[in-house]
Amino acid sequence: MASHHSRFQAAHHAARTVFGRVTSFATVLALTSAALPPLVVAQGVAQGISQAQPSNLSGAWVSPPTNNVLERLEGPFTDDWTGMPMNAAGQALAQSYSAGMLAEPERVCQLYGQFHYANGAVGTRLTIWPVVEGSTDEIVAWKIDKTEDIGGLTIWVDGRQAPSKYANHTREAFTTGHWKGNMLVAYTTGMKSAPARDNGAFYSDQATMTSTFIPHNGNLLVVVTSLHDPVYFTKPYVYSRAYERAAADTAINPRWPPCIVNYEGVAEGVVPFFLPGKNPLRDQMMKVFHVPEYASVGGEDTMFPAFRDKLKDEYLKLYPSFPKHCMQYCTTFRNGNPVANQALPEERVPPLKSSP
């Protein structure tokens, strides 16, 4: 979990100069925009570029650090599969997972499947730009890079066909897209098996992914990702995340070294894993959040409100015994930066001068 934290901080400070030369375009755009009639209307209208490319997704985007804090900073708990529609096979695979397996040379990049842009620490900062071709600079694809990855997501919008289903699956996979009004809808196939959550919740190489990019007012981008997997999921795993437009000089560095895994002390030829029922970290959700194992193992029913009825009596019975102050995993934010230590009142961050 500590590696997630350091990764976040490193990404936060990395690469501030890659996209520095935007002045000329901004000037051109400002001049053309100045000549336009204002789009102030009673019931709003979306902006557009052309019929073929109705929206401009280009830019640096940062997800506000207020959603999914456990995934983004501390990293997901070793046994937190709550809200994931995994079937029995998916649950068994997740419970056998040992993070040490990522130290094996052949698995060192396995963390970075295409779904990974949607969630986790690596997906908190996106850089998007159009790929153009030909003498008319026709946009043939949209490229999405995220923190700490290589290859990114290339969404082909030029109508090209996906490779045969028998083609070799790759980590880059293959993604086509089409515009639905202001939304870009992308469909990814040919993926390799990878985690949907960084704690062993894998999807298979039969999975497909539908991503919808929805810009609002030029400064907000909503990304919705649905992961369909006939092997390990019983329903699509839907994940959404909001992004705000960021200054160009905060764009991520696409040359960030990929697939860095700390040495875990795994000897050559050893595949770290846990036998069924032997994972010693299966009780973390109970210890920290008082969530029983029948909930933490996930499954379709944990996604929906009715599941609360199963938990209610047992959970509320325990509640009076919980510590009165948050002692672990209490990270919050101030000015966009993580503030971890708020466990005890006397240790809390001082108020800003402007605070009442």
Binding site: D137, V185, V222
Partner: protein, 272 residues
């Protein structure tokens, strides 16, 4: 028109930005012109008639992300992880006493507009009239009214659900099209003010009467064609100068249901 920024990159040569800017210019003029024509021939259509997408029907929360421990169960005492809470907010949170809230008839403080859409449950969305979209919840049995006609805004007292002003965002096909042409895309933007104080989470994380809520409602499919399940994606931003350092932004997902199956009205609870 918001400025669109495009970053320079290896595939973005010197001519591309100019071409892109001209396209923005031409299309924006087309859209602006279309808007001007729409109102010229008579009164604008009602919000219901102008709806570019249909949010009506029954919806069920899908809690699929790592905020599960803050939504599906009552969060731990003192746990404000992810919330940019000022010290004064932390101090108020420390005073949370659900028994006291219940005794004071304040058990609905975690069902106000900034929170109610994150409470796992079902929504029933209907048109109350041609200018007002209504959202009923089974959890806490709350009703939100989204006003497209805001002429009576700021006239009533503050309330748990506040006063919500709604606005369609939409995009018609480019070119010479009728004002009644079906939009290519649409979304709903809602701004809520006039709130009474409440809780952002069940464990007493406060928001003040000065809080404002901004929401975007989007409809998507969970597959690339139109055959998949319909999802409503809500992006919420709570701004509170009293208790929050910065905006509190969250996402919520809802699954469209064919009917009222699962609709289970329950009273507000200060503890669950």
């Amino acid at each position: 028109m918001k400025q669109v920024s495009v970053m320079r990159n290896p595939v973005m040569n010197g001519t591309a930005p100019v071409a892109l800017a001209l396209l923005v210019s031409l299309t924006a003029q087309t859209l602006a012109h279309a808007q001007g024509r729409r109102g010229a021939g008579g009164p604008p259509p009602s919000a219901q008639a102008a709806a570019p997408v249909d949010f009506t029907g029954y919806w069920e929360s899908m809690v699929t992300d790592e905020d599960w421990v803050y939504r599906m169960v009552t969060p731990r005492p003192g746990d404000s992880a992810g919330v940019p809470l000022k010290t004064i907010g932390l101090q108020v949170m420390d005073t949370w006493d659900p028994a006291k809230d219940t005794a004071a008839g304040q058990q609905c403080k975690s069902y106000g507009a900034p929170t109610i859409m994150r409470v796992p449950g079902h929504l029933h969305v209907t048109w109350q009239d041609e200018q007002t979209l209504k959202i009923d919840t089974d959890a806490g049995q709350q009703t939100r009214l989204l006003h497209f006609d805001d002429s009576d805004a700021h006239q009533g007292p503050k309330s748990l659900q506040g006063y919500s002003v709604a606005q369609w965002e939409f995009q018609r096909p480019p070119g010479r099209v009728a004002a009644t042409a079906k939009p290519l895309w649409g979304a709903l933007k809602v701004t809520t003010t006039d709130l009474t104080a409440g809780y952002l989470r069940k464990n007493g994380i406060p928001y003040s009467e000065q809080a404002q809520l901004q929401e975007y409602f989007d409809l998507v499919k969970d597959s690339p064609d139109d055959d998949g399940e319909t999802l409503m994606i809500l992006t919420s931003t709570v701004i509170d100068p009293v208790y929050l350092f910065e905006p509190f932004v969250t996402d919520e997902n809802f699954l469209k249901l064919p009917g009222d199956a699962g609709w289970k009205p329950s009273a507000c609870s200060a503890m669950w």
